[in-house]
Amino acid sequence: MAGAGMNCSTGFDGVRLLAGVEIPYRRHGQTSTSDLLAQAFQAAIARAGLRADEVDGLGVASFTHGPDRAIDLAWKLSLQPRWIMDDSNGGTSGLNVLMHAARAIQCGDASAIVVVAGDHFEAQDFQRLVEHYNLTTRNYLRPLGAGSPNSLFAMLTSRHMEASGLRREDYGTLAVTQRGWAGQNPLAVYREPLSLEDYLAAPMVSDPLCRFDCVPVVDGANAIVLVRSDHPCVDKSASSTPVRMLAMAARHNIDHQEGGGLRTGLADVAGSLWNAVGMGPQDMDVVSIYDDYPVMVLVQLADLGFFAPGDAQRFVHEQIATRKLALNTSGGQLSAGQAGAACSLHGLVEAMIHLQGQAGERQVEHARHALVTGYGMVEYRYGMCSTALILQGDGQ
């Protein structure tokens, strides 16, 4: 394994991602978290051409899986794993597990790992989650009547508007564009066309955020399979072309919640990430940016160098709206739905589908390289966790 400095993990040789699957997201679903995770597991190994008894590692990312943990799911799936891991660090949880899982495979601790991520929310579950997200939320935000992150990202969006000069129409263009992609994704929960007029006329949730700036809460699960590159299923899995992990970087709690939230950990790692792969933003064929709010898509894209400071508006209209940048092609969480920790793998699964040439109507032609990010875990005023991953397919 080789490292490229402190800011970026490279050298994932010997590891292949085989399958990425999504159990359809549903509003007010009736399937338990455990059931969703089990369905995702079974769909993933079927796609990978892997038998359950070949799986020797299991990672779980979820908010609502408790009181069960990874080993409980392993028992229900009759697995005998050598490697298990749980992570509940929100929007980066699935990628956190992936990073550890890849190293486990390289080090020989496991040869075939399935990472599942998902959540089922009853109405009271979600309210409980957002009001008791952590002790800071419970003790310092909930008493204000501000248990939801919407109010925090509303004020963050206001700061971004002041700093960037963007208007509501610009954020709306991003939401409308993602809805257009969702219209080509049979699994997206919200697929009906959305116009900018619809966006601007929508009810305010927490000004300047309207309904279409806030992700709709759904149930669902995602899963990926990663294996040793010499694993027998790499060759027999014709329906699941292997995908390589080229580089990965994570940086959390960069400013102790004492800044404006308009800069994420990705800004600190972008240079080393791109250097590690010898590419830049212009080389990415598919881009999945964690989209809990439109503003955070633009913040992360800026951090990663997709556009220069002051150029956000041009980028939105010339690159995103025109689809020159294939961004959040599933519709993103804004339209496909926000299934809790499942969304920590949602963008990765979408990127893999494109790299494997299985994206159907929305397939990006000759997609070879993809970028995926995770973001989340609001402490007091904005998210603390950031992760980015660069993938390579075979370009078919």
């Binding site: 204000l144 009547g145 501000a146 109010s151 206001s158 300047p208 955020l209 004492e258 007091y380």
Partner: protein, 112 residues
């Protein structure tokens, strides 16, 4: 990490933690100072903050009735940025007095 002090009139004064090693003020409290990693804190009273951003969050109360919660981000005179519920009009750049009521940080306009 310190706990808020109650004033003579029953309303809690708002305080933040100040690192005894470097003087950095932090809110909400934490174990180690984000500037110097010092572990000793003293309590510093905070009286005022300047409003930076605000929002009105629409939601429902416990009985399901619509309600609007006015919230703001303020830069305190001790340094930390805080989130508070507004008890009066929102005016960007204006000064507000900060107090604690039932664990909630309340920002009251200094000028009506």
């Amino acid at each position: 990490m310190s706990t808020p002090k109650r004033s003579a009139c029953g309303m809690q004064m708002f305080t933040v933690d100040q690192c005894t090693a470097c003087g950095h003020c932090a809110y909400p409290p934490r174990y180690l100072c984000p500037r110097c990693h010092g572990a000793q804190w003293k309590t510093r009273r905070v009286v005022r903050g300047i409003l930076q951003q605000y929002t009105e969050t629409r939601g429902r109360d416990a009985e399901g009735a619509p309600r609007t919660v006015p919230l703001a981000t303020l830069r305190t005179d001790a340094g930390p940025l805080v989130v508070a519920r507004l008890a009066g009009p929102a005016v960007k750049g204006a000064s507000y007095t900060l107090t604690l009521q039932d664990q909630a940080l309340i920002a009251t306009p200094d000028s009506p």
